[in-house]
């Protein structure tokens, strides 16, 4: 498994993703600066969490315009797997790779805590190894998913909501925590699977997301 973790100015979970990929999963993981080209022959691209461009303008908006996003777009168009975590999800929405947008939480506050998720589908590249329910940490102030009524209806109809909060944590439409694109190869997820991948840190719910990806790539 060869993974590229994209580093934008202001990304701050890049090192965490690299650590989990390398030290926990034993994958080959490459940090890729946003002004460089995407390395060849990668199996997975991760857009990590953080505050790309300081979250200025809109979360993810400036990063979505970064040179590397052209490569990511082509990679995704070719069927490559892309996982956007937290800020990465925001970037995918801003880049138009996923529909909708993430706005400020209903209570206007940053939330750092563990939340329970219902895994809506276990037949995707990102969730095939997940149990029905997983607990993952969230850490965001802009995690309130919004989309037009038509888009929401399609998302639900096409079963593209893969992860749903059990409780309403931030005001997100239909308690959406993670969605997938039409091709099933691009997933945006507000909670942080990389923060729940080692028993020492309290929980391992996130491992199942990575295990799903490993299976999908191997298939």
């Amino acid at each position: 498994m060869r993974v590229a973790v994209i580093v934008f100015p202001g990304s701050n979970c890049d090192r965490d993703c690299l650590h989990v990929c390398r030290a926990v999963l034993g994958w080959e993981a490459i940090a890729c600066w946003h002004r460089e080209a995407l390395p060849s022959a990668v199996d997975l691209v991760i857009l990590p969490g953080g505050f790309s461009y300081g979250d200025y303008l809109r979360t993810g908006a400036l990063a979505a315009l970064s040179p590397i996003m052209g490569d990511v777009r082509r990679f995704a168009a070719g069927g490559g797997h892309v996982l956007g975590i937290c800020n990465g999800f925001q970037i995918l929405c801003e880049a138009g790779l996923l529909p909708g947008a993430l706005r400020i939480n209903r209570d206007l506050l940053f939330h750092c805590e563990e939340v329970a998720l219902h895994v809506e589908r276990r037949d995707t590249a990102f969730s095939s190894a997940c149990p029905e329910r997983i607990v993952l940490p969230i850490a965001h102030r802009e995690g309130n998913y919004v989309a037009g009524g038509e888009t929401l209806r399609r998302l639900e109809e096409e079963r593209r909501v893969v992860f749903r909060y059990e409780q309403d944590v931030n005001g997100a439409a239909n308690r959406i925590a993670g969605i997938i694109n039409e091709g099933g190869n691009v997933l945006g997820l507000m909670p942080h699977p990389e923060r729940a991948s080692e028993p020492l840190l309290g929980s391992t719910g996130g491992l199942s997301v990575f295990a799903s990806l490993a299976a999908a790539v191997a298939a």
């Binding site: 908006a61 947008a101 209903r106 037009g148 009524g149 005001g171």
Partner: protein
């Protein structure tokens, strides 16, 4: 090159929830700051002010539109208004 003062106002689309506007409305109701006067339907947007250097006003307006549409606003959830005036 001529210079222009430009302004872009970006507002949330009316159908998109505006938690900031709602929070302010709630706070105002509680504080009773405005006395007899009722404040309602508060919406919070962003304003960008900048200088543009362009060959003429049409070029400036064109560039500003591109900027607003591609960068400053997210057309999924926001609308924008432009203003260009001579410096």
């Amino acid at each position: 090159m001529p210079r222009f003062d430009a302004e872009v106002v970006v507002m949330p689309k009316p159908e998109v929830a505006d938690p900031q506007g709602q929070a302010i409305e709630g706070a105002l109701a509680r504080l009773g700051l405005t006395g007899e006067v009722q404040a309602r339907h508060i919406h919070v947007g962003k304003v960008f002010r900048l200088d543009l250097e362009a060959s003429d006003r049409a070029a400036a307006e064109q560039a500003l539109h591109t900027l607003a549409d591609r960068v400053l606003a997210n057309p999924n959830i926001e609308t924008f208004q432009l203003k260009v005036s001579s410096h």
